[in-house]
Each structure stands twice: as C-alpha cells, then as structure tokens.
C-alpha cells in the first residue's frame, strides 16, 4: 500500500465510537443511557457483554456527553483495569482514593469510575467493593464492565443497573470494516471480509486490528492476505511448537513453549485453548487425537488447579512427540 494512507493512530482508536450514536448495534442500551443523560441521575451501572462490542467505548462516550470534552483531564472520569490489579488492594487504595474525593466545581456533583474487566476481581475484592459503592455514592458513580456478569457477586449486581451488550452481528462487523476500508482507501474483497469476520469471533477490536495489519502488506486485501496475517499473528507460534514436537524435536519445542510463557507472558490456559483448536487438524491418526485430547483436558484441569504451566504442557508435547514416531513405524 502507499505509505501515505497509514495514519498515526491505531485504527481501533481512530475509529472508536466517540459519541453514543456511533456505538453499533446496542440501540436499547444507548436509548436508556441517553435518558439517563437527560436527567443526570446516573446510577451505578454494570455493562455486561462479550469482548470488543463497545462497552469501554460506551462508558467513555457517556462520560464525554455528561462532563464535556475534557472529562478525563478535569478529573471527572477515571478508568481502572481490574484485570491487571485484581486484588482487594486495588479497591482499598486506588478505587477508594478516587471515589472519596469530592469533586470541585461543575454542575454535576459526582465523578465516574470505570472499572474495566471487573469480572477479573477476586471475590474478596468484590466484597470490599460493595461497601465502597454505597459509602461513596454521593461523590462517585461506578460503571463496571465485564464479559461475564455471573462472575460479579450478586450484592454488586443488585446495586447496579445492568445493561446487556449484545454480541455484534456479522453485518455490523462487515459493514464497519468495509466503511473503515473506504476511509483508508483500501480494496477489500468480499471473501476477505468474510474471513476477517470469521476470525474476529464477533470482536470488533480484533477485526479492525486484522484489517490494519493486512493493510500494512497491501492496499488490495484478499483472502490470502488475511490468512497470511492470521497464520502469522495468532496461530503461527503454537503450530510451530506442535510441529517441532511431532518432528521429534522435543527440546526445541520446549524452548519455544517457554518463550510463549516467559517472554510473551501468555497464560497456560490460553496456550491450552490454542492447542485445542489446532489438535483436530494435526497429521495424526484419529485414535491418537482422542488420546491427546484426553490428555489435554487433564493438562487444562491441572493448570487450573495450580500445576506448573510449562511442566504440564511439556508432558503433552512429549506425548505428542511419541505419537508421531509410532505412526511412522
């Protein structure tokens, strides 16, 4: 592609909905939020829904509409991501500190704290949080964003107005990607669009990132371009490890596995999921696949129990390595 078309912004940011009207396929939620804006009686809110459907963006757009453009700068709005700081400490320190301060000036007497990925909070932290919600509701309202509302304890849910964000439809994602492609002067054919959608699993962020990555290779994007990105970005490394093991190169497979865990910092459970996806397509007998599937389930369970990720996964790779050999002889 011509370099001039690439902008300084990541497209997920550039094309992030800026107003409530920009949010795609969440009409009911948006209508309710607009009503709230009219009365300025903001309840605590829980935004529940799958990743990449616009929960965070909606929270920001809402705050911008409520406080004006400099809603962050003026200290009205803060965003804390619970996934990086899941413990009770986050609540006792960060959240409380922000919530207890009485805002200065302005017609609205309270601030808003967005607690993103709040389903990642530990139970203890959630219990600490429910007091905070009441204690400081005069000075601060909370928006909790979560993928799974059932991981939020009931007392918190009962203190919130719950808004369910719908998964995005195929059409929503394809239309948006097509529109961005037009803005960026890209040619994307229909099969490529389908492929981007399929891979996105309904996550707009992932779809847009894929498009931008594809655009860095060519301004004409076809199916092949997209597959190239997909293989490269998300699947290449796992596949390489599995192939090394099957090719009898256990130690190399092990070293690559360690890189994933210790350099990239991937969680064992995510690596298990990625292996699971590839497993069905490996060059093995079906009986072997069944056996490996059984083992992988065991690995998954043990990791959840606290087993050492690399050790449990190595046991799987060693088993895989022995399978390949058996098949050849």
């Amino acid at each position: 592609m011509s370099l001039a078309t690439v902008t300084t912004l990541p497209w997920v940011e550039k094309y992030r909905p800026k107003t409530l009207d920009d949010v795609v396929n969440q009409e009911e939620v948006i209508t309710s939020l607009k009503n709230i804006l009219k009365t300025k009686a903001v309840p605590h809110m829980l935004f529940a829904g799958p990743p990449g459907v616009g929960k965070t963006a909606t929270a920001h757009a809402f705050a911008r509409d409520l406080y004006g453009q400099s809603y962050i700068e003026d200290g009205w709005f803060i965003e804390i991501n619970a996934s990086d700081e899941r413990g009770i400490q986050t609540i006792r320190e960060k959240v409380k500190m922000f919530a207890r301060q009485i805002p200065m000036g302005g017609e609205i007497g309270f601030k808003i704290l967005l607690l993103d990925e709040s389903d990642q909070l530990t139970d203890d932290a959630q219990h600490a949080f429910r007091r905070v919600m009441e204690q400081y509701s005069a000075t601060c309202r909370f928006i909790l964003a979560a993928n799974y509302s059932n991981r939020i304890i009931e007392p918190i849910q009962s203190r919130c107005a719950v808004f369910r964000f719908r998964p995005l439809l195929k059409k929503d994602i394809i239309d948006r990607i097509r529109w961005i492609a037009e803005q960026e002067k890209l040619e994307v054919d229909d099969i490529a669009l389908e492929t981007i959608y399929e891979f996105s699993e309904g996550d707009m962020r992932r779809a847009i990132n894929t498009l931008q990555a594809a655009a860095s290779i060519s301004s004409k994007i076809d199916e092949k371009t997209v597959y190239y990105i997909l293989g490269y970005i998300s699947r290449g490394e796992i596949r390489k490890i599995l192939e090394l093991a099957m090719g009898g190169n256990f130690t190399q497979a092990r070293d690559e596995l360690r890189k994933l865990i210790y350099v990239q910092g991937l969680a064992g459970s995510d690596i298990v999921s990625a292996i699971y996806r590839e497993l069905f397509y490996l060059d093995l007998s079906e009986e072997d696949k069944l056996e490996l599937l059984d083992l992988l389930g065991e690995v998954d369970y043990r990791i959840a129990e606290g087993g050492t990720e690399e050790v449990q996964l190595m046991a799987f790779l060693a088993q895989l390595a022995s399978k390949k050999k058996r098949r050849q002889t």
């Binding site: 990132n209 190239y228 390489k240 350099v263 050790v311």
Partner: protein, 437 residues
C-alpha cells in the same frame, strides 16, 4: 562510623556516574541548555529500573555545578497544595546574580499517581509550564496513564540495567577504598546476583564484607548464594542411572537443595538423557504428576506428601528409561535457568510495550500483550515511513521498535517456512468447517 556504602560512594561528580553514557550525556546537555536560556522542555523525566543511577546523576550534577536542590521526596507530600507550596514557590524565581542556582528534584513521580493526592500531578503539570528552574523527575515506571501529560512536557531519558563488567568495576573501586580484598569470582557473583542493579550490588558487598579484610566465596553464603553445582551433577547421575525407585530416591539423601530446584534440574535434563520418545513421554507424564504433588504440598502445607513427590520425580526418570543413551550424555545446567536470564530483557521489553498499548487503548496489560501487541508489531515491522508515526503514538523507544521489528518483521527462515507450508491446508479446512482461530 558505619555509613551505608551506597551513600558513601554516591557519585559526587557527573563523571563518576557509572553506566548509561547516552542518558548521562542527554541529561548534561539538557542541564547545560538552561545556562544559555530556557530549553524547549522544561522538565526531564529520568526513568528505568531501580539502582542504575537516576537520582544519583541528578544529585551529582547539582553538586558539581553548584545547584541547590529542592527535593520533593514523593513519600512525604504530594497533593496539590503541597506541590504548589513547595515546588511551585521555588520554581518562580530563577537564580539571582551571585546566588546559587536551583534544581527541583521530584523523586518517584510514578508514586504520585493513583494516590490520595491526585491533585499533585496536575499541579506539577502547571508548575512545569511556568517554571524558570529545571525540574528533574525520576520514575521506575513512567507509563502510567496519568503521567501522559507530564511525559509530553518532559525530555524522556531512559536508564537501563547496568552490565556485569560495569558493576564489577565499580565494586572493585569500592573495595580498594575500603581496603578490603575481594576475589574476582566473588565480585562477579555479586554482580550477577544484582541483575544490573548497582545499588543492590553495593548493599550486598557491604553486607558480606562488614569488618573483614578479606572476603571469600564462603562469605557469600550469608546471602544464600551457594555453589552446589558439582553435588547436583553427581546426584543426577545416580538418579538417572538408578535401577529401582528406592535407589533413585536415595540419590537425594544428603543433598542440601530444595526439592523445587532438584526438580528443575531433573526436568531439564530428562530430554537429553531419555532419547526414546515413548519413554520420554512416560517420564514427562510422571514428572507432571510429581509437579501436582509439589503444588499440593505448597498449597496445603502438607509436607508429608513430599514422600510421594521425591520418588516420583526421581524414579520417574530412571525406572522408565529402558533404553540408555548411546554413550555418556553430559548433564547440563538447566537451560531454563539460563533462558530465564536471557528472557528477562525481552520480557521487560514486552511488558513495557504492553503497558504503553494498554494505557492508550483502554485494555489490561495482559490483553494488550496477547491480543494487540502482535498486530502492532506486525504493522510497525512492515511500514517504513509510517513506522515512526504509529510508534510515536504509543511512545515506543527506538529499542522497542527494534525489538518489534526483530520479533515480527523479517522472520527467521524456519518460522516463515512453517507459515508457508501450513497456509494452504488450513485455508481449505477453514472454509469447510467454519473453524475459527
């Protein structure tokens, strides 16, 4: 009088600051620019890991060139009012003719964010805008979202971990001045332990050298560093060549190492000692079970379970091995331990990159790392002219850009080959099954 050596040997001149020559140069040039008029950036943010000389550089410069330091030690006060009162006041008046010059030092500026005194940062921001005095800030992690405006106002100067030779050299100088004799090996070990943190190395040195004219390797044991490598090699030989579970287990008797460490040695030596894939699979299977026992021991503090872990981890690799390797296979220092050291820098790179992405894109650092970093890397690695602009958006340093290019750019042939080969069949499958990532 006993004084902390870290204080006693704090550099008194810029020339005495060890390591990070580029950063030192950048800082000195910036300070000099105050002498000839106001520089464009009125604040400098010195950032990097602990114990590499950030604060020392500022102090040394002040001492050498006769600056009075107004230090905002971030642990005392940092709310809006105090910030204005102390920092703001001092920043109004540039030095008068004849009187001494002033420098404002805000230590641990990353500690201000997220604390009770939130107003402090915005106050600081205003002060920087109006200051007539250089403001030097120090931080370990400058990538906090709330520091973004301050980052823009500041000259960002990165400090890196010091390399081993640099640390050894400095330790040697201190030994000479303290008139103690310390062998090269000991210094080298101290430097290694410190992982690039000179302050901790000097602390350790003082701890082991306290009141002794000669420091030997034995003294290092105070620090818990023990060289048991030879013993473990011997034990490994017994373990892998044992004929019964009982004798395999016995190999650990008298070996004063914790079970976790022994486990790592066994785990990493198994693949070279057990060459038959079936046998290796079985061995790894048993080691994985031993791992679970160790997990339970830790979790439930059930030490009596150790009697199962030990025979599993030792017998698991010996009794299972039916086919001895051809010839003698050397036992090795666990690659894991070596790799972890190598990985450290890379991991830090990725962590920093992820933090930057996370703060810009409203994500957790973990998600940024897993879901976004590969795309960003891919794009940055492929765009020449625009590379600059996207990385500027994320405020990546040149080293970080280089890292992304290495990791996601022109890939090593092996990996590219794997991609090429697998690309087609997956395409077909995907179409038929609707199989997702």
């Amino acid at each position: 009088m006993t004084q902390l050596w870290t204080e006693r040997y704090r550099p008194k001149k810029v020339g005495e600051v060890v390591g990070n020559p580029e950063s030192v140069k950048a800082f000195v040039e910036w300070m000099k620019s105050w002498e000839i008029g106001k520089p464009i950036k009125k604040a400098a943010l010195l950032y990097g890991p602990a114990g590499v000389g950030k604060t020392s550089l500022a102090l040394a410069y002040a001492k050498e060139y006769g600056y009075d330091i107004v230090e905002v030690n971030a642990s005392d006060w940092r709310n809006e009012e105090k910030m204005k009162a102390v920092v703001g006041e001092s920043s109004h008046y540039a030095s008068l003719e004849g009187s001494s010059k002033k420098m404002i030092l805000v230590d641990e500026v990353d500690g201000v964010a997220g604390r009770e005194d939130a107003g402090g940062l915005s106050a600081l921001r205003k002060i920087i805008n109006e200051t007539r005095v250089p403001i030097v800030m120090v931080a370990n992690n400058p990538w906090d979202q709330r520091l973004a405006p301050i980052r823009e106002q500041s000259l960002m100067i990165e400090f890196k971990r010091l390399n081993k030779t640099t640390i050894i050299k400095r330790l040697k100088e201190i030994c000479e001045k303290e008139k103690i004799s310390v062998s090269e090996t000991v210094l080298s070990k101290l430097a290694e332990r410190s992982e690039g943190d000179l302050r901790s190395a000097i602390m350790d040195l003082q701890a082991v050298a306290a009141g002794k004219p000669v420091v030997t390797e034995k003294d290092l044991e105070v620090l818990g560093v023990r060289n048991r490598v030879r013993e473990i090699f011997e034990a490994l030989r017994y373990i892998f060549y044992a004929k019964s579970v009982r004798s395999a287990r016995a190999a650990l008797e008298g070996l004063d190492l914790d079970p976790e460490t022994i486990y790592t040695w066994i785990l990493d030596n198994a693949p070279t000692q057990i060459t038959e894939p079936d046998e290796l699979a079985e061995a790894m299977n048993i080691l994985a079970k031993a791992d679970m026992v160790l997990v339970r021991i830790n979790k439930l503090q059930m030490w009596r379970l150790m009697k199962y872990a030990i025979p599993l981890m030792t017998g698991g690799v010996s009794v299972v091995r039916k086919t001895p390797p051809k010839g003698f296979q050397k036992f090795t220092f666990p690659p894991k331990i070596r790799l972890m050291q190598q990985f450290k820098t890379e991991r830090e790179f990725r962590q920093n990159i992820s933090l930057k992405i996370a703060s810009k894109l409203h994500l957790s650092a973990y998600k940024a790392n897993k879901d976004v970093l590969p795309y960003v890397g891919f794009i940055i690695a492929r765009e020449d002219k625009s590379r600059h602009s996207l990385s500027q958006y994320f405020e990546f340093t040149n080293e970080e850009i280089e890292y992304l290019k290495r990791a996601y750019g022109e890939v090593k042939e092996g990996r590219e080959a794997v991609e090429e080969k697998k690309e087609k069949p997956v395409q077909q499958k995907k179409k038929k099954t609707g199989f997702l990532s």
